[in-house]
């Protein structure tokens, strides 16, 4: 008998705490676990450290966290679609780590797969601020940045389907960061468009094995 990981809103909110590091899947407001974001806000936690591709739109998707003023530090690759974020950043409301997109996702992957880091080159030689914080190593005559892992206390993941154990599938381009973040947190919580029984997802089509999933929001919802 496979473990049933369905969890109530209250059980999920009990996992959130002040100062937690939080990964949130999604890209440009697509494939974002919006219900779970609302639960974080409803729980009343503050000073979160947010890791996500972008800052959403103003008061939409990840932008909800900024609108509510609960972010202390953040890692993003692009923040240009959220004007509210820009204003708050100018006021110094939080510490921002801007990171090239492919590098950001690899740092998260390192956090999920037990790697101590990865050697990458995005931004090499540009002199941009983030590169000054990086250690450089030379391997076979080529310079590389040592990119260190990112790991989270909690990851919020949006899936298309979840079975009761947390085997997941995604739809279209909505997988984006979700499957990588699912590996990289102590507690991975899923919001799925459809929840189904064990064996209803053909095992060959599973994109995130349920071993990475801790909780599934117990609500059947369908998003268009």
């Amino acid at each position: 008998m496979m473990k049933n990981k369905l969890a109530s809103k209250e059980e999920i909110m009990s996992k959130f705490f002040d100062g937690m590091t939080l990964m949130v899947g999604g890209f440009a407001c697509a494939g974002v676990p919006r219900e779970l974001i609302e639960l974080v806000i409803e729980s009343g936690v503050k000073d979160i450290k947010l890791i996500s591709n972008d800052a959403g739109d103003p008061n939409v998707a990840q932008g909800r966290f900024y609108h509510e003023g609960i972010v202390a530090e953040c890692w993003h690759s692009h923040v240009g679609l959220n004007k509210e974020f820009g204003e708050l950043a100018k006021e110094g409301k939080f510490k921002l780590h801007i990171t090239p997109q492919g590098t950001l996702v690899e740092k998260i992957r390192c956090g999920g797969v037990g790697a101590g880091g990865i050697l990458l080159r995005a931004g090499m030689g540009t002199g941009c601020d983030f590169t000054k914080e990086r250690q450089v190593v030379n391997v076979d005559g080529k310079d590389w940045f040592i990119e260190t892992p990112l790991h989270a206390d909690v990851a919020l993941v949006r899936a298309r389907r979840a079975d009761l154990f947390g085997n997941l599938t995604y739809r279209g381009t909505m997988e984006n960061y979700n499957s990588t973040m699912a590996m990289a947190a102590d507690c991975t919580i899923v919001q799925a468009d459809q929840i189904c029984d064990i064996e209803e997802i053909q095992m060959d089509t599973v994109r995130t094995p349920g071993v990475f999933v801790d909780m599934i929001l117990d609500e059947q919802r369908r998003y268009i």
Binding site: F27, A28, D54, P100, G102, M124, T126, G172, E175
Partner: protein, 231 residues
């Protein structure tokens, strides 16, 4: 033929650049197109050239309007979106994958080329296209995309004020250092070899003097320079 010295930023020029860039590619090639004018390249590529989007698809098809009332019947608004967050229709046979796989395709040399816009290009193949003073958005995937095998810049030859965009040394923060392979403007095509810039083609309606007078960057006229090229 439209003469557009000075600003030159007309829709016709953008389409013309897209047509010229599209001719670099053959069926089976996989290309990534930057947000904005580079997306026009998709309208002109040969059948079988596949478009990649960094948020996880090869086989990007027709771009849809967010306000298209027919969208829910054809695809869902969120299910297939491009790097600009705009919904699209995947072509038959399209494949979807995670962000991690998507950047593996880029860095691993599996992408034929990326086409990017530019604020400034330098004569040694540097690109500045992500940061303007007072308008901070973040680099997104641009720096990673410059790790692709071919990095093609599509840009107007001059700024709106008529100043050269191809210059000795970029003044804005860089997107990449010396990684450009091609620059296509509405007037000319350049290639980079060993961090030197070569003039390869001059478009019909322009001549070498026009290119020299509107280009600050030092470039070498290629031995096999083509002139009167129809875009």
């Amino acid at each position: 033929m439209e003469m557009s010295h000075g600003s030159g930023k007309t829709l016709n020029d953008k389409e013309a650049m897209a047509r010229r860039i599209a001719r670099f590619f053959k069926p089976g090639d996989i290309i990534n197109l930057g947000i904005g004018a580079p997306l026009l390249v998709a309208n002109h590529v040969a059948d079988g050239v596949l478009v990649h989007t960094e948020n996880g698809c090869v086989g990007v098809g027709e771009q849809l309007s967010r306000t298209d009332p027919n969208i829910p019947e054809r695809t869902s608004l969120e299910s297939f979106t491009n790097a600009g967050g705009i919904p699209f229709l995947p072509i038959p046979g399209a494949m979807v994958f995670s962000h991690a796989t998507s950047y593996a395709i880029i860095r691993g040399g599996h992408l034929t080329a990326t086409v990017l816009g530019a604020f400034e290009v330098s004569e040694n193949g540097d690109l500045a296209n992500w940061f303007l003073p007072g308008n901070f958005a973040g680099m997104g995937g641009a720096m990673d995309l410059c790790q692709a095998k071919n990095v093609i810049v599509q840009t107007t030859h001059c700024t709106k004020k008529g100043e050269p965009k191809l210059i000795h040394k970029c003044t804005l923060p860089l997107t990449c250092k010396g990684l450009l392979t091609h620059v296509v403007t509405e007037r000319a095509v350049f290639e980079f070899h060993d961090n030197k810039m070569y003039l390869k083609e001059i478009r019909e309606g322009y001549d070498l003097d026009n290119i020299k007078n509107n280009t600050e960057a030092d470039f070498i006229v290629a031995d096999d320079l083509k002139t009167d090229v129809v875009y």
